[in-house]
Symmetry: C2
Amino acid sequence: MKPTIYDVAQAAGVSIATVSKVINGTGRISDKTRKHVTNIMEQLKYQPSMVASALTGKSTFTVGLTLPDLANPFFAEIARAVEDRGHEYGFNVFICSTDNDPDREIKYFSLLTQKRVDGVIVATRTEKDLFLKKLIQQHVPITLITGEMPALAVDTVMVDDFLGGYQAGSHLTGLGHRRIAILAEDVNTMSNRERIRGCKQAMAEAGVASDERLIAAGEFTVDSGKEAMRRLLELGEPPTAVFACNDLLAIGAIQAARERGLQLPRQLSVVGFDNTILATIIDPPLTTVAQPIQEIGRQAMDLLMQEIKGEKSMRQRVVLMPELVVRGSTAALT
Amino acid sequence: MKPTIYDVAQAAGVSIATVSKVINGTGRISDKTRKHVTNIMEQLKYQPSMVASALTGKSTFTVGLTLPDLANPFFAEIARAVEDRGHEYGFNVFICSTDNDPDREIKYFSLLTQKRVDGVIVATRTEKDLFLKKLIQQHVPITLITGEMPALAVDTVMVDDFLGGYQAGSHLTGLGHRRIAILAEDVNTMSNRERIRGCKQAMAEAGVASDERLIAAGEFTVDSGKEAMRRLLELGEPPTAVFACNDLLAIGAIQAARERGLQLPRQLSVVGFDNTILATIIDPPLTTVAQPIQEIGRQAMDLLMQEIKGEKSMRQRVVLMPELVVRGSTAALT
DNA sequence: TTGAAAGCGCTAACAT
DNA sequence: ATGTTAGCGCTTTCAA
């Protein structure tokens, strides 16, 4: 059996209280006994049980991270960033891919709360924010990322989607494009709506009319982007440029264009969003609006930690700036 | 405060023992009280504390997953597969990216054991298997994936790397290639060694000499592959085909070839390994040796569960078959 | 069929 | 400076 605090107390000839104190560095212990106990602990390879200590009211040093799909490179990168910052705090993270399935969300919700996680970072968003509301109701510290600005008082870190869309739009209009299509994951998510709005704003400022027929929606997949682009290319007057609301869609668009025999970027310019590893892998390399993924993970964790430690009474919203990264998938209209 | 079993007992007018029994479906309880108690629990939104129950000797329903880097698409896909199977068992998974850094490994080891995880799936491998040995020593159930065949009695699920290499090699020689380069992540990992050996075997059988100067090693990154390929292309008699031990390296090779102005696959054939999402995104689409990622995750979890439940005395090694997926990055030598 | 009570490994007053 | 002890929320004999 694993040694307990009793075993080390006995072996050291002290009380368990003393051992507890040297473990936690609390109370006043003579240097001598401290060292002695420390030695014994090492000898016995003693590992304090966090489950026992959690039961006494201390935290579990565990947080949950819910996201749609860990296999999606964007979320994988987010998860890594969150994990890293968590690790610095000595926290572990439970990863929870929900596939946007309410049933999975509920199941994970129940597992997380039963395990008494100290908080959860939510990168999912489903109908009516049911998951979120349940968490709030249970007073679980939360921070929201990758998302909307919900009608709920919750810590949030987000990027300025409008600005990102605007950057994409200006880039394209600046290149002379006037028939600009937009590919969204789902026009109903606030982030996508804002990106679209930003893009349209840039177009309007450049005197470019936006054509609703050039706005297509789908899912967060390459195939969805490809399909949508195919349809757009069949239009009588096809677009000369596309702004896709994420890299996966942008890649689908590129593939569809290739399929049609178009030369990129000469005959079609494509701008993505996210700046995942995929943007550097596709040919031509994707011009895309970069999200500061590291920073998102870091800030999300930081906010959550403050919440957990009760260092903060006010909820806050951190808005990070996106940045257009110009690569080879965009060119001046010829 | 969150309601405890006492609150439920009191509200239901029964003892905590009774409540415990209806929670766990143990003992004999009359249908009437069972329903009554169940109602009360719902009313109070009672969630049994797994930390308390874990303290009484039950398991934590938690496992750890160690991998080099969650942001690497291959490992992200592995993680997702593991998570999914774990979820079916009602388990959560702690993700632990180590960057192959022994310090991080140790820190995670200590966190995982202190939290009394029920087991860990290890997809990392570092010097001297220190991490692994520590786990074994602590009697933590383990299963190894993505890896070697260690000189340790541990459950393992692996793919037949030799066969995978052989498939890649045969494909290339079958296409008429005779100058075949090999890009490895690290010639010292057993899996890479086996892949190389398999490829060489296929070459030998086709009467193709293998040239040690055409074998390059690097890291598990695109850049590393690009760099290695650049050097190979500067050789007096450059290769006409490359077998890369993973998709990232293969992509680097493709990019280096492009950089040189080579037409793919006409002037250079490339075969990867893993069949990650990247293989379908790169242009030309990558011919690659597919690892059955879902199956790996599933089997790993299954083995671990058996181990945890003590249903099995023997350690086993499950060997899965890889499968060559032919796409556009390979062509007959002209 | 139900309940009383002892523990699981630890923390935190409170004594000494 | 160190020890005693009462919990933390649950499971599990063992009685009733």
